[in-house]
């Protein structure tokens, strides 16, 4: 492990933006540095499905010209961004990590792709993912596994594994993941970066290949909390093309970042999160709570009994909706779907309608309990993943006295916040004895991303986990 803050590829977006705005850094130089880094490192990481070398260099030259003539567009102008390969990019392959959609070329951009382009960001490539975003490891049977930059023999987490690896290793400055059961936060935690799942409806899903209509969200993955706020500033806001898009006005999510957190009420759920967890992870999370306490927050336990039903509610809804999304694929080309995803889709296809509705009714009770807890507390604090990144191909792991399937375990602690749709961010909070990153989640009330980000930023500034880089 090394602490590195120099080098263009490890600048934060906000640092690079200042240099670009003041014309001390050329977007062409920045993209060149990232393309060189990709050439040197991605053979070991397998984080890109499609590298947009020519396109990104051409966009960088345009950005350079525009900025030189006074046309600076803002903090993402000239910044290299990667997109998980389920965001539609006009004229560019979008595979959803699948064999079935290997040749799919969208005829339009996703809303978020449009917003990035309008902000002058440079799409450097399309990133590796778990097939159909339906899994937490990014061990993709068609493209091979994404490799964790902290130990290339270990998984990145998923489903946005390429995004996690690429950002952590300095292959792009920020990326978009999507989060249905934790797919932004899991790879963020396992790769040692920041991952934000905004409130359901905050960011348009137009042009995002769906997995589960009532759970899917779009979220940034970056190396700092401020950078996630900057990306959210760009992608948030109403879009009439997405029926679930909120009409609530967007805001500047960086505005409150530097305010202190004295008096902020932090709740740690008593149930569920610590039932099946590596003690190293639990200790790291409790130390993070201690840091928030030292910063002036009040930290207390909170009881949310419905949490014990998280996996049933989330699993039933997600699998049933995913089976409908992929009904044609499952009926016509089941052999082209990887074994693990196919098994989950079968399970969803055979879910009884009554069980689906019952899970949605239980979701109502679940959401009321979370809302009740968030009346008493400003944020909830919980570990992101119960273990550090398992080895690639490792079927099961030992947690305490139990042997449990590694991949299902990874999403146990992230799923609750998809059920209720609240904003939640994962930030680095330590390392396991195997030198693998650990993350902690901070969740808040619906549409209070600013509070969640403020608490995360305060924690980040009080610690140095976010400054550490994998020695790839």
């Amino acid at each position: 492990m090394t602490t590195v803050s120099s080098g263009l590829v490890f600048l934060s977006i906000s640092e690079a933006a200042e240099l670009i705005a003041s014309k001390k850094l050329s977007p062409v130089e920045l993209i060149d540095a990232h393309l060189n880094r990709i050439d040197g490192a991605d053979e070991r990481l397998n984080s890109f499905i499609t590298l947009l070398r020519k396109e990104s260099l051409s966009a960088a030259r345009e950005a350079e010209k525009a900025i030189a003539s006074g046309g600076y567009l803002g903090p993402l102008h000239g910044i290299p961004i990667g997109l998980k390969d389920l965001y539609y990019t006009k004229g560019i392959h979008t595979t959803i990590g699948s064999k079935i959609l290997r040749d799919f070329v969208p005829e339009f951009d996703a809303a978020v792709t449009e917003r990035f382009k309008d902000a002058g960001a440079i799409i450097i490539g399309k990133l590796q993912m778990h097939e159909f975003a339906m899994g937490a490891s990014s061990e993709n049977p068609h493209d091979g596994p994404a490799h964790n930059p902290w130990d290339t023999g270990r998984v990145t987490g998923g489903s946005s594994g390429g995004s996690g690896a690429a950002v952590a290793a300095g292959l792009c400055m920020g990326a978009l993941g999507s989060d249905t059961g934790g797919s932004v936060r899991i790879p963020a935690a396992l790769c040692g970066i920041v991952g934000l799942k905004p409130t359901f409806g905050r960011v348009s899903r137009h042009g995002v290949y769906p997995l589960s209509w009532s759970l899917d969200t779009v979220g940034p993955m970056t190396r700092t909390v401020r950078d996630s706020a900057l990306v959210l500033n760009t992608i948030a806001g109403h879009d009439h093309r997405d029926p679930s898009s909120s009409r609530r006005p967007s805001e500047d999510f960086t505005a409150m970042l530097d305010r202190d957190i004295r008096g902020t009420r932090v709740g740690i759920p008593r149930e569920y999160f610590f039932d099946l967890i590596d003690p190293q992870v639990a200790e790291a999370m409790h130390k993070a709570a201690g840091v928030l306490g030292e910063l002036g927050a009040t930290v207390d336990e909170v009881s949310i009994t419905a949490l014990d039903h998280s996996l049933t509610i989330s699993g039933t809804i997600l699998q049933a909706e995913a089976a409908e999304v992929h009904a044609d694929h499952l009926r016509d080309k089941p052999g082209d779907i990887g074994e693990d995803v196919r098994a989950r889709l079968y399970q969803g296809a055979l879910t009884l309608a009554t069980d689906y509705i019952k899970s949605q009714r239980a979701r109502t009770v679940f959401n009321r309990q979370i809302a009740g807890a968030l009346e008493r507390f400003d944020v909830l604090l919980a570990p992101t993943c119960p273990i550090g990144a398992p080895r690639i191909g490792e079927g099961s792991v030992q947690v305490g006295t139990k042997t449990v399937p590694a991949l299902t375990l990874l999403s146990n602690l992230t799923r609750p916040f998809n059920i209720c749709g609240v904003p939640v961010v994962s930030v680095p909070c330590g390392f396991t004895n195997s030198a693998m990153p650990i993350g902690v989640q901070i969740a808040g009330r619906p549409f209070e991303e600013a509070t969640v980000l403020r608490v995360a930023h305060a924690y980040e500034q009080a610690t140095d986990w976010h400054t550490r880089r994998p020695s790839l």
Binding site: S214, L311, Q347, A349, L350, D355, V365
Partner: protein, 63 residues
């Protein structure tokens, strides 16, 4: 409600009704998962769902 003791034959019938062709081996693998899932869903009754509507409801305004 799904019976916790569901059989492979019941799953096969369900798959046929859903228009999904699942191999015998896959059905064998699926059976314990489906049983666990049915038991877990039955366990949601512990939340007291009386008079509780599903989280997703039709809104005539949103179409």
């Amino acid at each position: 409600m799904a019976e916790p003791s569901m059989s492979k034959e019941a799953l096969r019938t369900l798959a046929q009704s859903a228009g999904v062709n699942i191999s015998d081996d896959a059905l064998e693998d699926l059976l314990p998962r489906m049983r666990r899932s049915a038991e877990a869903t039955a366990g949601l009754d512990a939340l007291d769902l009386e008079d509780v509507e599903p989280a997703t409801v039709f809104s005539p305004e949103s179409g």
